[in-house]
Point group: C2
Chain length 470, copies 2
């Protein structure tokens, strides 16, 4: 079968409104949202059912045509953007957006891949349950993409990555076979746990079409504190204290430097200086529980009191209203946008063994200084998970293309140092196109070999999302 | 290389005290602890280091000799017992029992495969931390075997299966290559999560030699209630209420029928009738928290009060001392032993979507009645995880070999019904030799095919634990 006939075959099989082939119709599907990547495709397919996904993939495999699965297009690594091959087919899941079931006894939700994460969170909340996956893009990202990239977010410290919220997965393999793994069982020791391969595979093994997700009790009682700390070492000790004393209530433990706060106060609207003076760094802690607001506030105040006494923080602002809570969170949430306003920069989504963060920060700073003492670091992230967004902006006065021209040297230095401390070059954003080179460079050859063999088992024709990950 | 030379080669490579070859020395390693399975082997190897494991596997692969990894020999499915091939080599991890690290800031523990689970739990407790994996065999099972079989236990409802406690794994592949996956990162989105394949693979892909485990805050404040319920439906509603109101404090939710209580009161020492009258079934609930005993007791009493008011249970006994708490747990813990004392029986470790348990119990009972109305069911298990030990004892007066002669018909009926309700034929015990036939019968052929291809990728020579799982 000729690859060039494929759009016609797809249209015959799926109907003209499901298959876009006109250049103008296709154009919006060829770039990532940041405009960093742009590729080509001969068609965009928007199936409504798992059967349509199956027929699409079977036809593409017969034609030996590459398929690029696409969710909400909120990824940061270009994993859902086609490469430069003109024959690519983009397979969008956006029309598969049904919640197939939501059970408040079993505490499970079965959602199709195209469901917007925020909609799923609201549906759970309406049923008095919590879907804990929460991230900045939640009102445009899709759950299928969240699972294909094993998304993280702000509540990982308590609930884990997207992977840990999944009970079962329905997926279509490249040959069109349907993987009927949509089980809602908490325990199922019957062979290798295949869904774990699909989760985090960035569309290179098959297409996730639906998932069974765990729901949790709503934790509407929330208490937030912003603590001013001297150093990452203090943040670490504060984390250990909170972990030990607050147990499962510890829902978020975020970190940002004083430089990040400067940036937010400069660029964001409606934010306020939290303390009378500026400090080297800040920690934002959220506790949450199913009940007893007074008890939760008392616990947080007691632990923060102990932290102040033991010198683990300089000052602390505890939220006493929802408005205050939101105002404290806003200081953290606005950092990415403020850095964007500041200009192009180099992002590094890395993780470290949490106990190594203080030493890493010191030695990394020294290495940066050697490269260029004027580089402006804006370091923030999900400290409680060992996840830092170690972002670097150009020196004042440097040309606008500084990030582009210095990427190899600067990013290489950061990632070398991360690996030296036993960290990961991608904590939660994945590999995609952006980090493929680094991935192939740093990953153990044995692991790469096993991954390639697994890829061959799932996708012997090699049509799934070429140029991404492996 | 001749397989028959292998013991000599192993002895040369690893030293005589590491390689057992005398029939009397080998004999204890050839049977499972229940005495159901017995196999053969030409040698037992007891390495002390990952390097010795590597050399052992490389030599076995060169000689094309099957290797059977062995942990604490507490499994219930014969996965660690060699088959009838006289050339088998049993690879015992019992001498690799070092705790390589325990970090109370990172809240991680790196333990070698041969560590006894109970020792790891005590080491964590001594460091003011909790390793939540807890099961009946914990003072003889080994963590390597726990991970190779993805063990469950009584705290899964809160902390998940063994899989969910693992951050990283070190393993040796059949060709002797070492998989250096002993990372302690909470977030690491760099390719397929290969450790997930080793976990639960029952020694068919490689040999786990060490693992990095998550530790949790100690939850020394415990509160337990035994509630008498009319039916599984009531148990389910009680579960939903506790889940919603107690959140993460819900640490165990166990179920057993009145028949199980009869058996325990008949066979166990030092147990007492918990209520003035007997009820159809019982639920044992444990809440646990890091702090505030009064608050925890008050919460449990309030929720149980509501349950009594809403008619979700007939009666309830709340523990008010550690002795009482242990006495209530003993009623649940003694069931397996009491059933053993009662005589041979058929065990079924199954799981169901939790909301289906009441309907399953009704229809299963009807099907059993058709088979033989005198079969005596003793049903208990980790209800909160949807996991039932649906065990069946012989009719009064039936011959002692009833279990053996009726296994095919009875077990077939149970597993058919479990599958009809979307359940799993093995919740936490795994497949091993015991359930291999059923596994191959019930598992989706697509999943079996993918598993076989993964097996080929890890173990192309097919030497790892033949006759188990796949």
């Amino acid at each position: 079968m000729q690859a060039a006939n494929l759009p016609q075959r797809l249209t015959e099989a799926l109907g003209p409104d499901t298959v876009l082939t006109q250049p103008d119709d296709i154009a919006p599907w060829l770039a990532d949202w940041r405009g960093i990547y742009r590729g080509q495709a001969q068609a965009v397919v928007r199936p409504r059912t798992v059967d349509e996904v199956s027929r699409c993939l079977a036809l593409c495999q017969q034609a030996a045509v590459p398929v690029v699965p696409r969710g909400g297009n909120t990824g940061l690594c270009g994993a859902a953007t086609p490469d430069g091959q003109p024959l690519n087919v983009v397979l969008s899941l956006d029309r598969m957006h049904a919640i197939r079931s939501l059970d408040t006894i079993a505490n499970t939700m079965v959602a199709e891949a195209g469901c917007i994460l925020g909609n799923l969170r609201r549906a759970a909340a309406d049923a008095n349950r919590l879907l804990p996956l929460s991230l900045a893009a939640e009102d445009s990202c899709q759950i299928g993409g969240n699972l294909a990239t094993n998304a993280g977010g702000v509540n990982v410290v308590r609930y884990g990555m997207a992977r840990e919220l999944v009970l079962g997965v329905e997926a279509v393999l490249p040959n069109g076979e349907v993987f009927h793994g949509l089980r809602t069982l908490r325990k199922d020791n019957t062979g290798y746990d295949l869904k774990q391969l699909l989760i985090g595979s960035e569309g290179t093994l098959g297409v996730i079409t639906a998932a069974a997700l765990r729901l949790f009790p709503r934790t509407d009682t929330r208490s937030v504190v912003l603590a001013a700390v001297e150093s990452p070492q203090q943040a670490l000790e504060l984390y250990a204290l909170l972990f030990e004393q607050c147990g499962a209530r510890l829902q978020a433990f975020e970190f940002f430097t004083g430089a990040c706060l400067d940036l937010v106060l400069t660029h964001a609207e409606g934010v306020q200086e939290p303390f009378a003076q500026r400090y080297p760094a800040y920690v934002l802690v959220e506790l949450a529980d199913t009940a007893e607001e007074d008890a939760l506030n008392a616990l947080l105040e007691r632990v923060i009191g102990e932290a102040l006494e033991r010198g683990l923080c300089h000052d602390a602002a505890v939220s006493t209203s929802l408005a205050q809570l939101q105002a404290l969170w806003k200081l953290r949430e606005e950092i990415s946008e403020a850095q964007r306003a500041d200009g192009p920069h180099l992002k590094h989504d890395v993780s470290l063994p949490i106990e190594q963060i203080p030493a890493f920060m010191v030695s990394m700073q020294a290495r940066l200084h050697t490269l260029d003492p004027a580089i402006r670091p804006f370091i923030f992230g999900h400290f409680g998970d060992g996840n830092l967004h170690y972002n670097l902006s150009r020196p004042a006065g440097a040309p606008k293309d500084w990030a582009a021209t210095h990427e190899d040297a600067v990013t290489g230095t950061v990632l070398d140092e991360v690996m030296r401390y036993g960290g990961s070059i991608s904590a939660e954003h994945g590999i995609g196109q952006l980090k493929r080179h680094a991935f192939l460079q740093y990953k153990d050859p044995l692991e790469l070999r096993l991954m390639r063999e697994i890829k061959r088992a799932f996708d012997p024709a090699g049509i799934m999302n070429p140029g991404k990950l492996l």
